[in-house]
């Protein structure tokens, strides 16, 4: 039985602080980075990034809060966030000048007036020095001249680097077992050898890389030692003898780790946390994930328990405190972007369970401790992903289902059976693929060994295939008509594939869709490659490269292809909209001939105005995708495969691309900018979520729904698929309910499903929570790629969540 054990008073106190502290903007990092960039225009490339980071490590104030055991922070107040001007800063300056940041409805932040003044005085420096400005200059000419306004790609005329690389997992085995002292020494040995050889040929590039590694490794060691000194200082003035001893133990750990291999569980937890915070300080707080936490922490725990040097309760408390530290991390996003990853989330995903390199079950005590912390603290952050395979123990299944009931959607369930072969399809050997973890939202990759860049460029890696579909039936013209526009748009941004009313067979429609998909997938990859050409020069990541398998051997940064394995991820949005729209065209115009292609075209272009009856027919009597009806599901495979095959055939500077289908909540935002679609959707309504059907159109229950989504080969989606299911709590009560839930998930995985995430909460509860948020402060729900506190999610997204059909009896 999975039982929740009581939480210690101090953990409770910190949790309370976490839930009640409104985040602030802290400008310490901003000030250091801005001054460094202003004073060092002579530095470029990898050395600039390395020295910039070391400067932060050595000069950022240290902060140890009351009751903390796991320490290391980005600023000087609890739950504050740092600023990262190097990537994209225009939006921030705009919002800061407008004064809206503390007032916004979603994720507001406070800022000290003095700090605000400093940023306003210096912020314009970043106008030409941010990555967005650099990338904009290098976008392909054809894209710039002919494709702006297509509504399919997120790349546009400017601000083409809205988020940092993010979505990666460093090698935490090397960080804990090797230590950065050894890596630094290795870099110095390489440099001495290259100097002796006279830096021949292109080895000078390797030499520069090793120099950067030396700098950042020493930097993070110094940072840790500064924290050790702070712990000693606090110990000296501490009156409580127990806390005093603890602070001294913390000082000992902080003095030792980072430079040397970790000795015990506490060392290891502090080490992985501080390492992650180091990468965050480098500017990458965007879905950067922790990988297989139970795998690299498990042996430390078991060794300490065997030695009798730690109690299970204290170890669990350390894990609680670590989780609360991760939950504390957040980042200010643009007001628009808060609608995509709402609820101050930083998406530092952790993976648990799964198999080892030989294929045996890898569960260990830490696996259960991770679920225990999430469930008993009701924390949506950090998100967790559980790898399921045939040998997943019964107790782990039960613990995970109980946890997902408590902390809505944590963990998500991932299938080894589908994901491992999907990774092998992109060239990973079996033993390596078995070590995969999930990145960011749901993206599989072998963290620490593979630079799979699953988030691609970040925001720009989403492809709106619903809009590509609209271009296919509108001669390559985006029909999106903005408010105030009198005439229908006429700018052609995609191939001229004709109009729906000219098409006389379903084959012609499909051909047009394929042409648009191929075209936009090609340009999607081309634009990402243009972005990568610049980010691999200006935004190297030596802090990650220090541990990433392959980089030290190759003498190359991860961004330049140094990792052992490489790929780039992508994600489509609107799969259900396209599949169902094709179904509707086929049913209405070609099979039953209930309307002509002309009528349907006119209805779409008029946003159903004057065609309300047709819309009612579509929403009422046409068989729809999501109900296990073969005729209605027949275009899912075409849609899913056409996109995936188009993406998967392209290559980037480091290797291939990998298709995915997960939206975070970008399906809501993309919906705002997508014209009416034939599936009954009106302009502005959300697009479909993950691989699901159009919201509310699955009426035959979960089995039929899963029968529908199993209609395509998910192993083509090496970058992940996302399938959200909402169950009514009464249908899943007790141990038997848990078993039934497990059984339905097992069947989904056996039949080729990749990922499932659950919300076990009734729509009535959610509606009530909208009305009385004060009563539901701790209600955690799975929104999309993230879980969040329901009351902190913006209204449009709340509505979308309620609209997704509740699968129950």
């Amino acid at each position: 039985m999975f039982e929740l054990k009581p939480v210690s008073d101090r953990v409770q106190k910190i949790r309370q602080k976490y839930r009640t502290t409104r985040p602030r903007i802290d400008i310490n990092r901003y000030r250091l980075v801005t001054e460094f960039y202003m004073n060092n225009p002579q530095l470029t490339g990898i050395l600039k990034r390395a020295k910039n980071l070391r400067n932060i490590f050595e000069n950022l104030p240290v902060l140890i809060n009351e009751d903390e055991v796991i320490v290391g922070w980005v600023g000087t107040s609890y739950r504050c966030c740092a600023l990262y001007p190097e990537t994209s800063f225009n939006w921030f300056m705009k919002e800061l000048r407008a004064g809206t940041i503390p007032l916004r409805e979603q994720d507001p932040y406070d800022i000290d007036p003095e700090d605000e003044k400093y940023v306003l005085e210096t912020g314009d420096f970043w106008d030409k020095n941010q990555m967005s400005a650099i990338v904009d200059e290098y976008m392909p000419r054809y894209h710039r001249d002919n494709m702006i306004g297509n509504g399919v790609l997120f790349f546009g005329a400017k601000d083409n680097c809205q988020s940092p690389v993010g979505h990666f997992v460093a090698n935490f085995w090397n960080a804990t077992q090797k230590g950065f002292g050894a890596i630094r020494d290795e870099a110095r040995d390489y440099m001495a050898k290259l100097e002796e050889e006279g830096l021949q040929g292109d080895t000078i590039f390797k030499y520069n890389f090793y120099r950067a590694i030396d700098i950042v490794c020493q930097g993070i060691i110094n940072w840790s030692k500064r924290y050790a000194r702070e712990a000693e200082r606090l110990a000296a003035i501490e009156e409580n003898p127990e806390r005093k001893a603890e602070l001294l133990r913390m000082a000992d750990t902080l003095d030792w780790i980072m430079e040397h291999p970790c000795r015990n569980f506490h060392d290891a937890v502090q080490c992985i946390y501080l390492y992650q915070m180091g990468m965050i300080l480098d500017g990458q707080l965007h879905g950067i994930s922790y990988g297989r936490v139970d795998q690299y922490l498990g042996h430390y725990y078991e060794q300490d328990i065997a030695n009798g040097t730690i109690t299970p309760e204290y170890a669990q408390e350390i894990l609680d405190l670590f989780y609360l530290k991760v939950a504390e991390c957040n980042k200010v996003w643009s007001e628009g972007a808060t609608k995509s990853g709402p609820g101050y989330t930083s998406g530092q995903l952790m993976t648990l369970g799964g198999v080892d390199a030989e294929g045996n079950d890898a569960t260990n005590p830490v696996t259960y401790m991770m679920l225990q912390s999430s469930a008993r603290l009701v924390l949506h952050d950090p998100p967790q992903a559980l790898r399921i395979h045939e040998g997943t123990p019964d107790e782990l299944w039960e613990a995970a289902i109980e946890c997902t009931k408590k902390a809505g959607g944590v963990p998500t369930f991932e299938s080894d059976r589908v994901i491992i072969p999907a990774l092998m399809k992109r060239g990973l050997p079996l033993e390596v693929a078995r070590n995969y973890c999930l990145h960011g939202c749901v993206e599989p990759g072998v963290g620490g060994y593979e630079w799979c860049q699953p988030g691609g460029t970040g925001t720009e890696s989403y492809l709106n295939i619903a809009n590509a579909f609209l271009l296919a039936i509108n001669n390559g013209i985006n029909p999106m008509r903005w408010p105030g526009m009198e005439e229908a748009p006429s700018k052609q941004t995609g191939p001229a594939t004709g109009y729906l009313y000219e098409m006389t067979s379903m084959d012609q429609v499909l051909e047009a869709v394929k042409t648009q998909f191929d075209f936009f997938c090609k340009w999607q990859c081309a634009c990402i490659n243009a972005w990568e050409s610049m980010s691999s020069f200006h935004m190297n990541l030596p802090m990650i490269s220090a541990t990433m398998d392959g980089c030290m051997d190759n003498g190359k940064d991860v961004q330049c292809g140094g990792a052992r394995y490489n790929s780039t991820g992508n994600s489509c949005i609107g799969l259900g909209n396209v599949a169902d729209s094709l179904n509707i065209i086929n049913y209405l115009c070609f099979e039953t001939k209930k309307c002509t292609t002309r009528e349907l075209y006119d209805a779409i272009m008029n946003n159903w105005e004057g065609y309300e009856e047709l819309r009612q027919i579509i929403n009422g009597e046409v068989p729809r995708y999501g109900n296990g009806i073969a005729s209605a599901d027949q275009f899912v495979e075409f849609t899913a495969h056409t996109y995936a095959e188009a993406i998967n055939r392209h290559t980037g500077p480091r290797g291939g691309f990998s298709a995915g289908c997960y939206p975070v909540t970008a399906n809501v935002i993309f919906g705002w900018f997508t014209w009416t679609t034939p599936d009954g959707r009106k302009v502005g309504d959300p697009l479909t979520d993950g691989i699901s059907n159009v919201q509310g159109m699955d009426k035959n229950g979960p089995v039929s729904f899963l029968n529908s989504v199993l209609n395509f080969d998910q192993s083509l989606y090496g970058n992940g698929t996302l399938c959200n299911m909402k169950f009514h709590p009464t249908s899943l009560r007790g141990a038997e309910g848990n078993m039934k839930l497990r059984s339905i998930m097992e069947t989904y995985f056996e039949e080729g499903g990749m990922e499932l995430q659950l919300n076990i909460v009734s729509s009535d509860t959610l509606r009530d929570a909208q009305k009385h948020p004060e009563n539901y402060k701790d209600l955690v729900v799975r929104v999309a790629g993230f879980s969040a506190y329901f009351v902190e999610v913006f209204k449009g997204c709340q509505d979308d969540l309620i609209a997704r059909t509740e699968l129950a009896l």
């Binding site: 309300e612 009856e613 009612q616 027919i617 929403n619 009422g620 009597e621 296990g628 035959n700 229950g701 979960p702 089995v703 039929s704 899963l706 029968n707 249908s731 899943l732 309910g737 078993m739 039934k740 059984s743 339905i744 097992e746 069947t747 056996e750 039949e751 699968l807 009896l809």
Partner: protein, 318 residues
């Protein structure tokens, strides 16, 4: 002359039917029932005929559809009714009302109601159509799961139920029959070899009271239960616990004694506390007010469970 193809009349099919027998099941609900239980949460299951149903929440208002249903009705049975507030647009919609005295369930209005606020409840399937639909879900039939044939009272469509069960057995599917037990023994005898489990309702041990409330006596029900047990059939006994009807300790004890008599045939006894979730369904097919009671408390259900367990019976509360 063309031979008439055997069909059965259903009102629903549900996958992931987690309350109707062991494991993950898909349940086929057949229409028509000889009993009239006042607490019935599927009132649409009682009549053997197609029935016009109306769900007010789906009605988009007569302004949106130009009163198509009103115009289509040859009997003048569709009238203007009240209004409802559309939650999305916050607009008051003028909706309709079905005059049940005039309506003959012809379905002409449903044909023109695209949002399917008006629809005909009841659909005919041939044996093979139903079997193929059920087999679609077979990969999910885990943990001893399979198909449940339910109702209404599915044994009032005996030939159809028999044929479907037989075909499912040929396919190796676990079968359950959810029944009131109120039918001729020969009907049950015929399906026994193709039925892995009966979900068998026992509503009251006193035949007078049984008849007074649900319209039929209980003797055939009890007799059939004994015969199923004697023939080696398995039963999950289900007792709907209805306040003011059968919830008293005396009746529960008598039911326990009867179950004891059935011996090994009873795999488990399920106590089903009354709930009022079916109340809104009455409004779909009728204007008649429906009796509503307060569901029994958890503590009271636990007490009844304890009583039955005194007899050494396996009991669960659903």
């Amino acid at each position: 002359m063309e031979e008439k193809v055997l069909t059965g009349k259903l009102y629903d099919i549900q996958g992931f039917s987690v309350q109707d027998g062991p494991g993950i099941r898909t349940t086929a609900f057949l229409k028509g029932c000889p009993l009239r239980c006042p607490w019935c949460h599927s009132p649409e299951s009682q009549s053997y005929e197609d029935q016009l149903s109306w769900i007010s929440m789906r009605c988009q208002g007569v302004d949106a559809c130009d009163s198509r249903c009103i115009k289509a009705c040859p009997k003048g049975a569709i009238e203007l009714g009240g209004t409802r507030l559309d939650a999305k647009t916050m607009e008051e919609l003028q909706i309709i009302h079905v005059n049940r005295d005039l309506c003959d369930n012809c379905g002409k209005c449903a044909e023109v109601c695209h949002p399917q606020a008006l629809y005909i409840c009841g659909k005919d399937y041939t044996v093979e159509e139903l079997v193929q639909r059920l087999l679609q879900d077979r990969k999910f039939f885990k943990m001893g799961g399979g198909v449940t044939i339910s109702g209404g009272e599915c044994l009032t469509q005996p030939e159809f139920t028999y044929q479907v069960l037989k075909r499912l057995k040929e396919e190796g599917i676990n079968t359950a029959v959810d029944t009131t037990g109120f039918c001729k023994w020969e009907i049950i005898e015929r399906i026994l070899p193709y039925t892995d489990l009966f979900l068998y309702d026992l509503k009251h041990m006193d035949s007078e009271k049984h008849k007074a409330v649900v319209a039929v006596p209980n003797e055939p029900i009890l007799e059939n239960a004994r015969k199923i047990a004697a023939a080696g059939g398995k039963m999950q006994v289900r007792i709907p616990v209805i306040p003011m009807f059968n919830h008293d300790e005396e009746n529960i004890r008598k039911t326990a004694e009867f179950c004891k008599e059935l011996g090994d045939a009873v795999t488990v006894i399920q106590l089903l506390p009354y709930h009022n979730m079916g109340v809104s369904k009455y409004m779909r097919i009728s204007d008649k007010p429906v009796a509503e009671a307060t569901p029994p408390s958890d503590a009271y259900m636990q007490k009844l469970k304890g009583i039955m367990e005194e007899y050494g019976l396996p009991v669960t509360i659903h």
